[in-house]
């Protein structure tokens, strides 16, 4: 009796609690035969938050995205999206998601507006409603003058904006963007960022994967760094930099043949030192100070540069510098 009551109350909690928790993952796992793509990860995404998934190729980002997108079925752990279980209620969840896949896959034979319209029809949206909505989205994507152009004649940046507009046709609660700006020129990237900021301001929850650390710093309130299916770190970009890197980084070059030798004698300087084939990195609170100490010890670097620590430093520290193919 007591147990039954307890169960009922947790059921109730499940129903009421998620209003502000859009995504809850506990021990989320995806295995393909003997390969584990996602290995028991935990995270939560709140309403209106902009959440980033970072990691090298093969880290499990895209698989995680597909599971959040309620298409790929998880093989272990728990996942709740908008309070529902994607393995059981996929269509119900997907009706409220906007998905921007890694590659633009519009129908090239159809015009720009037709692609938006057709996608809205997939959601069962009315024709009258869509006529209006499509114009709204074309405005949003700055594609109004390309309205009647076949998609295969659009530039890469235009196609990308069209894909993002398409992901908004059902007024989603969560917009999922898989590498939204890969392959775009700086102008196109900045236009896209601006559009995504506007969505964020309107309260749309964003889930983003990216390879660009500046993009993650710009767009994400909070992010996880994944590697080999596991979460290496989680937090706001600034906190991650504080935790895993120093305030500043000093980069000095003595010439490829002399770097290692110099590093051996300078390794006590700064918080941490990293020797690369072409340069030495000193992680420190004050980069200029370290540079002065180097000079004092009688070393004359060919070039030196003091810069602020970035998310890229965190990323490389956590996931290593080895190429992942």
């Amino acid at each position: 009796m007591g147990n039954a009551f307890k169960e009922e109350s947790t059921e109730l909690a499940k129903k009421t609690a998620p209003a502000d928790l859009m995504i809850v993952a506990k021990g989320l796992t995806k295995k393909y035969d003997d390969f584990t793509a996602v290995d028991g990860i935990d995270f939560q995404v709140k309403r209106g938050e902009s959440f980033g998934l970072l990691g090298p190729n093969g880290a499990g980002k895209s698989t995680t995205m597909k599971m959040i997108g309620a298409t790929s079925l998880r093989t272990g752990g728990e996942l709740t999206i908008l309070g529902k279980d994607p393995n059981k209620q996929g269509p119900e969840i997907r009706a409220h998601l906007g998905v921007v896949p890694q590659t633009d896959n519009h129908d090239n034979d159809l015009k720009a507006w037709e692609n938006l319209y057709i996608y809205g029809r997939y959601f069962g949206l009315g024709r009258k409603f869509l006529k209006k909505k499509v114009e709204e989205l074309l405005d949003f994507a700055q594609l109004q003058d390309k309205r009647d152009v076949k998609v295969d004649q659009l530039s890469g940046g235009m196609k990308r904006r069209l894909t993002i507009a398409r992901g908004l046709v059902n007024e989603p609660e969560i917009l999922m963007l898989d590498e939204p700006t890969t392959g775009l020129d700086p102008q196109a990237r900045h236009i896209l960022w601006d559009r995504l900021f506007r969505l964020k301001e309107e309260g749309v929850t964003l889930v983003i994967t990216t390879h660009y650390m500046d993009e993650a710093e710009q767009l994400c309130d909070r992010l996880i760094v994944m590697d080999k299916g596991k979460i290496m770190a989680e937090g706001a970009p600034a906190d991650l930099i504080k935790k895993y890197s120093s305030k500043e980084v000093l980069e000095v070059r003595f010439g490829s043949s002399k770097n290692a030798e110099a590093a051996e004698k300078l390794k006590h300087l700064g918080d941490r030192i990293e020797t690369l084939p072409d340069r030495i990195l000193f992680y420190a609170e004050d980069g200029e100070k370290v540079l002065k100490q180097i000079h004092k010890l009688g070393f004359e670097p060919a070039t030196s540069l003091v810069r602020r620590s970035s998310l890229e430093d965190v990323f490389l520290r956590l996931t290593g510098r080895t190429l992942v193919e």
Binding site: E92, A95, R121, N170
Partner: protein
């Protein structure tokens, strides 16, 4: 601002009506396919009618004249050669349309532009996509056989009264084939000439050995089996019976009907399962 009737979901107003979206899913997919087809209308008509009309002219009219000369005006199965041939030509044209709608578009959806994955990112399921492709295939079959039936009628090959039953038999064959083809294609990972093989080793023999140009019984028994497993033969034999009263063994009409229905259902079950699996990877 936007005036779509809203439904409530999680306490907030939502624009997607789940019930409507799930019930009509296949029709939304079909709507897309039809819109895409409309961009290729000229090609569809040309290819849909081109080959069949060539057969009609060369075999139907040319060989028909020779046959009728030797056998008498109603010498084949009690009718003219052209009337005998017409149900087979219609069934073949339906199957060609079905092939066009289920082969490359399926590979495109899964491999080339991954559009099936985009559809599946909405509330559409693998089942809705399969259903939508079948509806679109049916529409294409109706369109192609409809126009072709008019041509056959204009040449005096079929009577106006028999048009509907002949189209029915042809579309039945077309859909049965579409279903099997869709199931097969849903497993294909690369083109690798798979469709060329199907064209050469399935469609072509099916066309030639299904009692198309002469009664199936004229073939030696070791070739007749091709007809027995061919939707073209089942639809043609059925069409011949329905249009001009061709004699069939007792119970044979039921077998024709059951055979086509069976492969239609088996194809659907396999396709839906494989679509769902492939999309959920």
């Amino acid at each position: 601002m936007l005036t779509e009737p809203k439904m409530t979901w999680q306490g907030a107003a939502k624009i997607v009506d789940m019930k409507k979206a799930l019930t009509w899913g296949p029709w939304f997919v079909a709507e897309y396919r039809l819109r895409n087809m409309s961009k290729w209308l000229g090609a569809i008509i040309a290819f849909g009618l081109g080959n069949p009309v060539l057969y009609l002219l060369s075999v139907g009219i040319g060989i028909g004249a020779l046959v009728d000369q030797n056998q008498g005006a109603n010498g084949v199965d009690g009718v003219s050669y052209l009337t005998f041939l017409a149900p087979a030509l219609l069934a073949t044209s339906a199957i060609q349309a079905a092939m066009d709608e289920t082969s490359f578009p399926t590979l495109q959806g899964f491999v080339w532009d991954k559009s099936f994955f985009s559809m599946n990112a909405t509330q559409l399921t693998g089942g809705s996509i399969v259903g939508g492709i079948m509806i679109a295939s049916a529409a294409r079959c109706i369109f192609n056989t409809g126009i072709y039936a008019m041509v056959l009628w204009a040449f005096g090959a079929i009577t106006a009264q028999s048009i509907l039953v002949l189209i029915f038999a042809a579309i039945f064959a077309g859909l049965a084939f579409a279903s099997v083809m869709l199931a097969a294609t849903s497993f294909v990972k690369h083109d690798d000439g798979f469709f060329a093989l199907v064209g050469r080793f399935i469609i072509a023999p099916m066309f030639m050995f299904s009692g198309t140009f002469y009664p199936l019984e004229n073939l030696p028994i070791y070739l007749q089996w091709i007809g027995w497993i061919s939707p073209v033969w089942h639809a043609t034999d059925m069409g011949r019976n329905l249009s001009y009263g061709h004699d069939v063994a007792p119970g044979m009409m039921v077998i024709h009907f059951a055979f086509l229905l069976a492969i239609l259902i088996v194809g659907q079950v396999v396709a839906m399962r494989q679509f769902s699996r492939r999309l959920a990877k």
